[in-house]
Amino acid sequence: MLAKRIIPCLDVKDGKTVKGVKFVNIQDAGDPVELGRRYSEEGADELVYLDITASHEGRKLFHDLVRRIARHLNIPFTVGGGISELADAEALLMAGADKISINTSAVQNPGLITSLARNFGTQFVVVAIDARMENNQWIVYTHGGRNRTQKELFAWAREAQERGAGEILFTSMNHDGTKNGYAIDALAILSNQLSIPVIASGGAGRMEHFLEVFTVGKADAALAASVFHYGEIPLPDLKKYLADRNIPVRL
């Protein structure tokens, strides 16, 4: 049976992970490769690396990092941040990324999804969507949640799928950082409307939230950052907790 995926997300700046991480026996807690390997050993099903660097120099470091990750990691990984044209994506593919995620650039230029899918296959293209619930409508935001758009979450997700997205990564801005659980109602609607996998993001605080996002929220995968980085939810415990409650997970 196809397993539900657990995906730790690492923010990278100038080639180093930015959030503090509580792992014992790691020489350099800032090394994204070492961290990725540790997560992989603990049972992570995939990893997401987000480049939050703004500078040209930082971007170059990120490319070198992607090459190192591809060399050392034995599970799939997605990279995102600053991909605005075909050439950016191709460079990351050549560096060894399994998938790329695009957000702002997809909203600004939806044709980018189409051309990425045509050139590299739909499995390579993750469309990330940040949205906030306002007056009973999920409004899409870009630029890391700073810019409001005219787009509505469900319509935009369907368009992204039609254009060739292989997966949708939905982050609820209302839930992100609260640790009160994922936006399960919106996720369930999204999952029912789409024929491609949905990755839930934003709000994980306890193990029950993961259970809920897979059962009620119908998500195919759940992404989280701080609960893993700060050791609040150890991955092996989470996997066991879910398996004990009949959620198909890879143990």
């Binding site: 049976m1 196809l2 099903d45 060399r71 997966e167």
Partner: protein, 202 residues
């Protein structure tokens, strides 16, 4: 000369196979040179892409006849597996005909009424057939491997392991020196490493 050849053609993910072999201490050569492929100790035929375009490319390079005539152990991966079957619904493509299997598109709806997401993406179990295959030594009876695909190979006499996704399909095929896996061993953690080691030992 003892050499592991990875067939180079217009497909993605070739480098990740090379990296996976490197992690096992094996330096492979990526090549589309027919002589070098024929003389290699073992051959890996990876692939991510579209079937008809890729078959066209293989024919143009003469690699279709080279692959079919190989006598050393050959391992197809993902699209490699599909191209080693008889026929693919993807672009109505005549394939290499090495395995007794056809390649079909996943149905969009499962019998359970729940929507089957396509591509089939993520970790799924691979269940060995009773006939023990050396490629699957030292693995649990139903280990998890990482899949990404929208088309699947039917089951038949060459099926060595089965995976369920709405329908049961061949996740491992084997016929004489030819073996192939639908999943990506190079991205399948420890189970993937065990499988690659098994292949390298043949």
């Amino acid at each position: 000369m003892k050499e592991i050849a990875v067939i180079r053609y217009n497909a993605g993910n070739i480098q990740s196979v090379v990296y996976a072999l490197e992690r096992l201490g094996i330096e492979a050569v990526v090549t589309d040179d027919p002589d070098r492929i024929r003389n290699a100790d073992k051959v890996i035929f990876p692939g991510v892409g579209e079937a008809s375009t890729t078959m066209g490319y293989l024919k143009q390079k003469g690699l279709d006849t080279v692959i079919s005539s190989l006598t050393q152990p050959v391992l197809g991966i993902c699209l490699g597996l599909q191209l080693m079957c008889q026929f693919s619904e993807e672009g109505n493509t005549q394939c290499l005909g090495i395995f007794h299997a056809k390649v079909k598109k996943f149905p969009l709806f499962a019998e359970t009424e729940s929507i089957l997401k396509v591509p089939h993406m993520g970790w799924n179990t691979v269940t060995k057939n009773s006939m023990d295959n050396p490629l699957l030594y030292n693995l649990d009876t139903s280990p998890f491997f990482y899949f990404v695909h929208s088309f699947y190979a039917t089951t038949g006499p060459d099926t060595a392991a089965v995976t369920e996704y709405g329908v049961p399909f061949s996740s491992v095929l084997s016929n004489k020196n030819f073996m192939a896996v639908q999943f990506h061993p190079e991205k399948s953690g420890l189970a993937g490493e065990v499988l690659l080691k098994n292949f390298l030992k043949l």
